[in-house]
């Protein structure tokens, strides 16, 4: 058994996901404390130079599973290959991004390895050579510190929590090809239905503009979208707006939606029910616009405007446009 940390780097649409770089930064810190190396593995087909940044961001060694059977993610195929690799490497800790892929893959892989798995983690501390892992529970209403007992330790890591390290583009790392036997794959992706237009992913967004029942009509989400467009922000929605059918569930922020940690969260016409606050309370800055001065959202807001969002939001959009033009 080694003291190494292995980062499973997800490739989506021909590029490494940002959370992989965040994990390399945090993984480096953990590996130094444990006295091990930082390893990374990427799976796909025709990977080529796509895996090169893994060395730039700190991996000491990069493993590549490049095979037609790895082109599309499957939980079974990826589990078969990774379980073999992890069995050989015996790392102390395996990190995966808490993305839709990581969350789908990690439990099957952990079960195959007989390992424990801490989900959606936001902190790691090495204590007496052992790990203490921080993870929000009850959608962030509480924070748990957990420990694992079965090696390798495994964790999925939340996006936007750890800083991306400064890359060193001259840095190189030995690359090893992983022999691929995908085995029997029963569940297969037959089609990918993409959303029309480019959409900033909520869990990775730096700025989020969310709308709630205060918008009154689904068409009024256009106001939110305009402001988001100017800021390069993702669009979110409250449960009330989703339950009313104004927005698809994939937009929902809160306990039964997405938990987000942007630099700035702008809540427009959202009162701030407990289950909504749970999903966005850890944002760095919160800005709330609501007619009701007693709305609970103001209790967590760094900036607030008590007023009509139909008057406030268009002014914000124009003002930010001006600022960006000046900058």
């Amino acid at each position: 058994m080694s003291n190494d940390v292995l980062v499973v780097a997800e490739i989506r649409e021909g590029a490494i996901k940002k959370v992989a770089f965040e994990m390399l930064g945090e993984g480096r810190r953990i590996a130094s404390e444990l006295g091990g190396n930082l390893l990374a593995v990427a799976l796909g087909h025709g990977i080529g130079d796509v895996a090169a940044p893994l060395a730039h961001y700190g991996a000491d060694k990069v493993f590549v599973a490049d095979d037609p059977t790895m082109a599309d993610y499957t939980a079974e195929g990826y589990t078969n290959v990774l379980a073999g690799l992890i069995g050989e490497l015996e790392p102390a800790l395996v990190l995966l991004g808490a993305t839709t892929q990581g969350k789908d893959l990690a439990p099957r892989l952990a079960a195959r390895l007989g390992a424990g798995l801490a989900s959606d983690c936001t902190g790691f501390a090495v204590q007496d050579g052992d790990l203490r892992i921080t993870r929000p529970i009850y959608a962030g209403k509480a924070t748990a510190i957990v420990r694992e007992t079965a090696r390798p330790y495994m964790a999925t890591v939340r996006s936007n929590i750890f800083a991306v390290p400064e890359p060193d583009t001259s840095r190189e790392a030995p690359t090893e090809t992983v022999s691929v036997d995908a085995g029997d794959i029963r569940a297969k992706v037959v089609e990918l239905i993409k959303e029309a237009g480019e959409r900033v992913e909520l869990t990775e967004a730096d700025i989020i503009v969310s709308g709630g029942r205060g918008l009154k009509e689904p068409e009024n989400f256009a106001l939110i979208e305009e402001l988001a467009g100017v800021l390069g922000a993702a669009v979110g929605a409250s449960r009330a707006a989703v339950d009313a059918g104004w927005k698809d569930h994939s937009y929902q922020v809160g306990q039964t939606g997405k938990v987000v940690t942007p630099t700035l969260y702008i809540a427009c016409g959202i009162s701030g029910a407990i289950q909504h606050l749970a999903g966005m309370k850890t944002s760095k800055h919160i800005f709330a616009i609501n007619k009701d001065p007693d709305a609970p959202i103001f209790k967590v807001a760094d900036y607030g405007i008590v007023g009509d969002l139909f008057k406030v939001v268009p002014v914000l959009t124009e003002e930010f446009k001006k600022m960006l033009a000046e900058a």
């Binding site: 529970i137 510190i145 569940a187 993409k194 029910a273 003002e319 930010f320």
Partner: protein
């Protein structure tokens, strides 16, 4: 079609979470069926209605109060319910929970197994997927739309991914974990609620399902809680309530100059 649905009882999402001595204090908690499990139950009912045949069996592992979750499912139309309960199960982590469920399922006939995509309490989002691995069957997680082939041998499932949906094809039996959006769960009728009031729900313990008591529960946990705390309260900040236009301009400048967001 034999449909099995795994359900869990969890604190209501409107519940304020309290912490005492480093653990969640449940003395004032109101429990409900895990919201994602309600989508799982509803989907099971719809499949049965569509196919015109089938049995729906609910399974829940937990203390005595887990029976309430099972009764909620029976009240909307599931036929059978099994309560997995044993002192040895207490404190089980996701792996041990999935192990217990897998042992119980091996005593049942199943063509399709539903779970909620995660429990809204500890938020592991693991049990359904681990269960599929232990039963050596495929899974599709975070499903928002499900079709079953005419011969009842395979499924097409839509799952939510970043920027869209994946359509996954898998042979049955398989585990499906339900995401919000899959359907709109029905409410129980008064008649349904009354009918299950006195229903005796069978209990299966560790011995009955053939699980070693040393491989489950707190002692066997691969992941265990060291301490739970409440996140620091946020302090409320600058609130403006004078003129919408002037206020908007002020905050826009504060966001640029103080928060440095541009």
């Amino acid at each position: 079609m034999n449909i099995v649905i795994c359900v869990k009882q969890v604190p209501d999402t409107e519940t304020k979470i309290r912490v005492k001595d480093g653990q969640v204090d449940h003395s004032e908690t109101k429990y409900v069926v895990n919201p994602y499990d309600e989508y799982a139950i509803e989907e099971g009912l719809r499949i049965k209605e569509r196919m015109g045949e089938g049995t729906i069996t609910l399974v829940s592992m937990g203390p005595e109060r887990a029976k309430d979750a099972l009764k909620s499912g029976l009240a909307v139309g599931a036929e059978e319910a099994i309560h997995l309960t044993d002192e040895a199960f207490e404190g089980s982590d996701p792996y041990a929970t999935a192990l217990i469920l897998s042992k119980a399922l091996q005593k049942l006939d199943y063509d399709i197994i539903f779970c909620g995509k995660q429990g809204v309490d500890e938020d592991h989002a693991q049990v359904g997927i681990i269960l599929s691995e232990l039963l050596d069957i495929p899974h599709v997680s975070v499903v928002t739309k499900l079709e079953i082939s005419d011969d009842g041998k395979s499924i097409l499932a839509h799952r939510e991914v970043e920027g869209g949906h994946e359509v996954v094809e898998a042979p049955l039996p398989a585990v499906i974990t339900a995401q919000k959006g899959l359907n709109e769960p029905r409410y129980a009728s008064i008649k349904g609620i009354m009918a299950v009031k006195k229903k005796v729900i069978p209990e299966w313990n560790a011995e009955e399902i053939g699980v070693e008591t040393t491989s489950v529960g707190l002692e066997a946990a691969k992941v265990s809680f060291v301490e739970v705390s409440l996140p620091p309260e946020r302090e409320s900040g600058k609130v403006f309530a004078e003129d919408p236009v002037q206020d908007a301009i002020k905050v826009a400048h504060l966001l640029r100059d103080e928060a440095k967001i541009l």
